[in-house]
Structure formats: C-alpha cells, structure tokens
C-alpha cells in the first residue's frame, strides 16, 4: 500500500509556484505517521509537510525543484 505525499492545494492563496526546500529524511527512510518529512517554500514562508502514514519514504521530487499547489512530491510505502 502507498500513501501520497502532496502539497495541499490550499497551502497558499495565489497561483505562484513554490519549491521543495528540503526533505528532512532520506529516500527509503522509515518514517512515522504525522512526522514532518519535507519543507516547501513559497516566497519567504516555509510550509511543513507531514507524513500521511507510517512506512518507507519514497521521494519523487528532489529538493530545490519547483512545485505547484496540489502536486504529488512523494509517497509512503507501507507493508
């Protein structure tokens, strides 16, 4: 089973792009449900992205890549 890690579509109000500023875990790390796994930045505001489930982190969009609201950036694989 996998759970999607996505940028919430209402995280900021304008349509400007953001960026994944950092992943706080490595690809393949075990992460806990609700842990902060990534930071995305829009302007000078950092938004923390939490894990939707426990399991292994799969990073799909690397740090410093541009992202849009609603975009999937990774997933959590659980057994």
């Amino acid at each position: 089973m996998s759970a999607e890690i996505a940028v919430p579509p209402d995280l900021w109000t304008d349509a400007t792009p953001g960026a994944v500023s950092a992943w706080l875990y490595q690809d393949g790390d075990d992460i806990a449900d609700g842990s902060i796994v990534a930071e995305v930045m829009n302007g000078k505001v950092t938004y923390e992205i939490t894990a939707p489930a426990a399991g292994k982190l799969v990073i799909e969009v690397p740090a410093e890549s541009e992202i849009a609201l609603g975009q999937r950036i990774g997933r959590v694989e659980s057994s």
Binding site: D10, L11, W12, T13, S21, A22, I36, E39, M41, N42, G43, K44, V45, T46, Y47, E48, T50, A63, E64
Partner: protein, 253 residues
C-alpha cells in the same frame, strides 16, 4: 558604538527622545508595548540566538496544544550570529562555510536567505494559532504583524511599510521598507499540529546597521555557491532614521 548610534544618542533628545536615548531596543520594545492588544514577551538578551529562534517554536507548540485560537507577540535579541534557513543547512558545502564563517551560525525553520542577528537587531515574532478549518492565511498573519510594527515605528517617528527592497539582503515582498531602504526583513513558517494551523511570522529590525554584516552574508552565501548581490545603500536602521529625522526637524526649525 557606530556613528549612527552616537548621533542617535546625542540628538534624540526632548520629550520623546528622552525615552530613546538609553537603548534603541528598549525604545522600540516600549513603542511596541504601547497600544498593543497582544501580550508582549520581551527578552533583552537570550542565552544564544539559536535558543531565541527555538523558543518561538516552543511557544507555537504550546499555543497549539491549548486547542483554541491564540496569538503571542515577542521581542528579543541576542549576541551576533549568522542565521540561515534550514534549506541552507542541507546544501553541499554548508559545514565548510559554517567553519569559515566569522560569526556563529544558527538555523531557522522559516524561509528566505541568510541574515545577521545581534545586539543591534530587534527580533519581533508573532505566533498565531487557529483551528485548521478556519482557513486563516499567512498573509493575514503578516498583516497582523504589520498592524503592530508600523504604529510602533511611527511612535519613533519612522514611516515604514511592507515593500520589496531590491538589492537588499534576504529580500522579499514583506520587507519593512523606509523610503526604498530596508529597515527589516520578515519570514514565516506554517505547520499543522494538534489539529491547529500554527503560523509564525517574524521580523528582524535593524537598530543600527553595520556593513560588515553584509560582508559576512556575502562570504557565506558565496561559499554555498549562491550568487546573490546586495547593496549597502539598500539598508537602513532605526538609529539612522531617527537621526535623519532629528536633523530634518532641526533644519526646519
């Protein structure tokens, strides 16, 4: 003591100026506390800048745990330190840049680029917690901070507004600008915890400005491979603006 600070101390006299003469940090904190509806926490000298930064997140978590809308205003300052966003700390070359830096290096969770904090910078933090489903945006929290900051600066005789200052360090749309120069910068952090949307916006307001700060920032960012350019003339400070206004008034009289 910088030239501006000396001018400030010499010329900030008179009924209002008496209050300013001792320490611009105290004057600014006093101006913030007057007419402010929020509880103001004032810390003149935190143990370390990193501790000062971390304390904002402790306050944010504490407010979120209470499970109801809350707001907290804090002003603090610490010893000289370069502060960088967490994304910098994950860049290649960070350890070497940190080792070579002329100042201690602290890391913050909010966005932006590098800044120098120290006894000459007042940090104003606004922690705001609302239920996640209320949809309060970070822009609203920046507006809340502006409603506190700008009247306080006006009490010191400084007319400031949010505006991007091109050529300034750590520039953004919510720069605190005075006549096209940067008096302070702001940044924000949003996290969801305990079912609450917890927002932190903070401002670093220059009490005095030292161009050596820019040299430290330039050197650090260059070592990280960042090619950002800044102009010394794009920056100003509370002391500089008050001295300028005092001279202007004297000239008019």
């Amino acid at each position: 003591m910088s030239r501006c600070e000396k001018i400030f101390k010499i010329h900030a006299s008179g009924r209002q100026g008496e209050r300013h003469m001792r320490d611009p940090f105290i004057a600014f904190a006093d101006a913030l506390s007057r007419g402010n509806a929020h509880d103001l926490v004032c810390e003149q000298s935190v143990r370390t800048v990193q501790a000062g930064i971390d304390e904002d997140l402790v306050i944010l978590a504490d407010l979120a745990r209470r499970g109801r809308a809350a707001i907290r205003l804090r002003i603090w300052r610490g010893s000289s330190c370069l502060v960088v966003p967490r994304a910098f700390a994950r860049r290649r070359g960070f350890a070497e840049a940190k080792a070579a830096c002329a100042l201690p290096v602290a890391v913050r969770g909010s966005g932006g680029t590098a800044v120098v904090l120290g006894p000459h910078v007042a940090n104003v933090s606004l922690c705001c917690v609302t239920p996640s489903n209320e949809g309060r945006e970070i822009g609203d929290v920046f507006a809340d901070l502006g409603r506190v900051l700008f009247p306080a600066l006006a009490r010191l005789g400084i007319v400031a507004a949010y505006r991007r200052v091109d050529g300034a360090y750590c520039s953004g749309t919510h720069d605190i600008a005075v006549d096209g120069r940067k008096l302070g910068g702001t940044a924000g952090l949003v996290r969801t915890m305990s079912g609450m949307r917890a927002s932190l916006v903070h401002a670093a307001v220059s009490l005095t400005f030292d161009s050596k700060d820019l040299a430290v920032i330039r050197d650090f960012e260059r070592r990280l491979g960042l090619k950002l350019s800044y102009r010394d003339e794009a920056a100003t400070s509370i002391c500089h603006e008050i001295a300028h206004e005092t001279y202007r008034q004297a000239a008019v009289a």
